[in-house]
């Protein structure tokens, strides 16, 4: 237990330090515009990686459609924000509400998928989440949603049937997605979301719920034999994971003026999975580091395009070694022992 606790403090310290440094750099103008523009996507991907780690690393179920939940949150959250333009003029509050709505819809999607799948024994979740990601993409690509003083109007395939009253506007326009989004996402909002996500995940893991979830991962039959209700706990982890992805989606989308469903495709799901695997299964700190590095990297490498893929590959390997290698692990553990008086030292 101690080991996890120190890990927790490392994660929080890392995020808070990074935020503080960035804020100083921004206020002194020592940061490029393109870098500044990446802060929100990095925050969103960190939350995506942490939340997927909850499903893959902590619950031990493979999910191949995590971007689907992000998409769910992005579209519902952004639509909600656009509908609240007048009623909630404060952008921070509006962003907060839209992230909560994104989280709720993400969670509902997770729940609906979980009901049939998580009660099955075996690896069905991977297939179903993969299908879910594709289905949600198709739905948003073909959905036309408008809004006026009479409420929401929606139609599939074309917008012909949607007639909006004076003052109304189209929200989702099929494959064109949502346009003219108010860019209300901020780095500070991203920071708060990360802190909240860390708070939830670590407190979950250190509660009886987290213990039961990890017990199911380690040995389902034994968990059942001591009275653990497997479906309930799997559902808890999966819905929380999906809800966090939904919130991240709402944050991510409102960093751009236009967002389309194709942004959240299978490739995105795989990218997030790569972040989790590179950072280490169940290693939250690792997820934060890998999400940061791998989101910055393609952008940072733009200037020397020739070696871009080469450097990218090398960095992938380095990240993997750094987060998973036993030698670095031992080093980190020593460090922790010094910091936290870790009792587990004697075990080695």
């Amino acid at each position: 237990m101690k080991r996890k606790n120190t890990n927790k403090y490392v994660s929080f310290a890392l995020v808070i330090a990074a935020y503080a440094i960035m804020m100083v750099l921004i206020s002194t103008g020592k940061i490029t515009r393109s870098m500044q523009g990446m802060l929100v996507p990095i925050s969103a991907y960190i939350v995506m990686a942490i939340s997927l780690n909850l499903t893959v690393g902590i619950l031990g179920e493979l999910s191949l459609g995590h971007a689907g939940f992000m998409s769910m949150g992005a579209f519902t959250g952004t639509c909600a924000a656009l509908m609240m333009l007048e009623s909630v003029p404060n952008t921070g509050l509006r962003l907060g509400i839209s992230m909560v709505i994104g989280a709720i819809f993400g969670g509902i999607a997770g729940f609906l998928i979980g009901i049939p799948v998580l009660r099955l024994k075996g690896d069905y979740l991977a297939i179903v989440t993969l299908a879910f990601g594709e289905i949600i993409k198709s739905i948003f690509n073909n959905l036309y949603l408008g809004f006026d003083k009479y409420g929401l109007h929606f139609q599939l395939l074309s917008e012909k049937g949607i007639k909006l009253e004076e003052g109304g506007r189209m929200l989702i326009q099929g494959a064109m997605g949502i346009s003219k989004i108010k860019k209300i996402s901020t780095f500070t909002a991203g920071f708060i979301l990360i802190i909240l996500t860390l708070f939830i995940v670590y407190h979950l893991v250190e509660s009886r719920y987290g213990r039961a979830i990890m017990a199911i991962r380690d040995n389902r039959i034994a968990a059942e034999s001591v009275g653990v209700d497997v479906t309930k706990y799997k559902m808890t982890a999966f819905v929380i994971s999906a809800a966090m992805a939904g919130a991240a989606g709402a944050l991510f989308a409102q960093n751009y003026s236009t967002i389309t469903a194709n942004k959240f495709d299978f490739n995105t799901s795989i990218l997030i999975l790569v972040l989790v695997v590179l950072g280490g299964l169940g290693n939250i700190t690792g997820s934060i580091i890998s999400a940061t590095l791998l989101t910055i990297l393609p952008e940072a490498l733009r200037s020397f395009a020739t070696y871009r893929m080469l450097v990218y590959a090398i960095v992938l390997i380095v990240v993997m070694l750094a987060t998973n290698a036993s030698s670095t692990k031992i080093m980190i553990d020593r460090l922790k022992a010094r910091l936290g008086g870790n009792k587990e030292e004697e075990e080695r």
């Binding site: 237990m1 101690k2 708070f199 939830i200 407190h203 979950l204 509660s207 009886r208 719920y209 213990r211 039961a212 990890m214 017990a215 991962r217 380690d218 040995n219 039959i221 034994a222 968990a223 059942e224 034999s225 001591v226 009275g227 653990v228 209700d229 497997v230 808890t236 169940g282 009792k343 587990e344 075990e347």
Partner: protein, 315 residues
């Protein structure tokens, strides 16, 4: 030998015997005509057994006799093809494995099944999950109930670990423990569910003689402290004959003998099942049963040694 606590085995209906002191209580466990077939194989057939409320009973027989299958039936891992199971008089038919655990059956596994990446203490606290009274939200925002219940569970885990004097490994990763210690943690974990019946599947397998001797004492201690019934599957005849009050011998899925250890040792059918021929001399038969059991248990030995090595290396 079985009279250690001054108790005799007495007959009860359904062709069974239980310790005399339990005669007025509801039996902990009653199996009536229990059976299961896999494909065409009758893995267990016509299994009738009554276990007294505080009895230590043994289930013995050659490898492949169906002993583990009986445990899997009792815990509803398998649904029986025929028969009923009464736990404290309650029919467990249709319950899930988790529900059976809540109803009062705790078990260990022949191939150790610990939560390897959790600490020993966490392993035990998982088993207390159903008795911990705080919700998801209470845990996330850490209401006082979270700290109170966690502290209580932590203390209880240490108390249970004290049975085997294992408090010092509470914060160790369960998968990193040596083999014998893992078996003991499994027993403690099963006890943490507050069972009325404790099922132990080859608890001494892979243990050295001094560990086995400790285990024998501790099985009795557990029964005496918690006043529960213990059913154990074991190949170590010394342990079985010393600890068990009643024995049930299984061969090819059928019960071939029931009785006290002394009776079983003399039973010609049992000796034949183990050896394939009859022995007359009692002293010789004990040795013969021992030797045969050892021989038969070799089937599971490679697995054990592998596990031992794995555990050893990690440490």
């Amino acid at each position: 030998m079985y009279k250690k606590d001054g108790s005799n085995l007495v007959p009860v209906p359904s062709n069974a015997v239980i310790p005399e002191r339990d005669i007025n209580d509801m039996p902990a466990l009653e199996c009536k005509n229990l059976g299961i077939t896999f494909g065409g194989l009758h893995a267990v057939e016509n299994f009738n057994l009554t276990i007294g409320r505080t009895e230590i009973a043994g289930l013995i027989g050659p490898n492949g006799a169906g002993k583990t299958t009986v445990f899997n039936l009792l815990t509803n891992v398998y649904q029986p093809t025929t028969g009923t199971i009464l736990l404290n008089g309650m029919d467990t038919h249709g319950m899930s494995t988790a529900q059976v655990s809540k109803a009062g059956i705790g078990r260990t596994f022949q191939n150790i099944r610990l939560f390897n990446n959790l600490t020993v203490e966490e392993n035990i606290m998982v088993a207390m999950d159903n008795s911990m009274k705080y919700g998801l939200f209470d845990g996330l925002i850490r209401l006082p109930s979270f700290f109170r219940e966690e502290k209580k569970a932590h203390q209880r885990a240490l108390d249970l670990l004290h049975i085997f004097d294992m408090e010092n490994v509470a914060s160790h990763r369960a998968g990193s423990l040596p083999y014998g210690a893992q078996r003991r943690v499994e027993i403690v974990r099963a006890l943490a569910t507050d069972p009325k019946v404790l099922l132990l599947d080859e608890p001494a397998a892979g243990m050295n003689p001094s560990e086995t001797a400790d285990l024998m004492a501790n099985i009795r201690k557990i029964r005496d402290t918690f006043q529960i019934a213990v059913v154990l599957i074991e190949h170590d005849m010394n342990l079985v004959m010393n600890v068990c009050e009643g024995l049930c011998v299984l061969n090819f899925g059928r019960i071939i003998a029931k009785g006290s250890p002394a009776e079983i040792q003399k039973n010609p059918t049992v000796i034949e099942a183990y050896l394939g021929k009859s022995h007359t001399n009692e002293g010789e038969s004990q040795a013969a049963v021992d030797a045969a059991a050892e021989e038969k248990s070799e089937g599971s030995a490679p697995e054990n040694t592998k596990e031992t090595r794995k555990g050893g290396k990690k440490k």
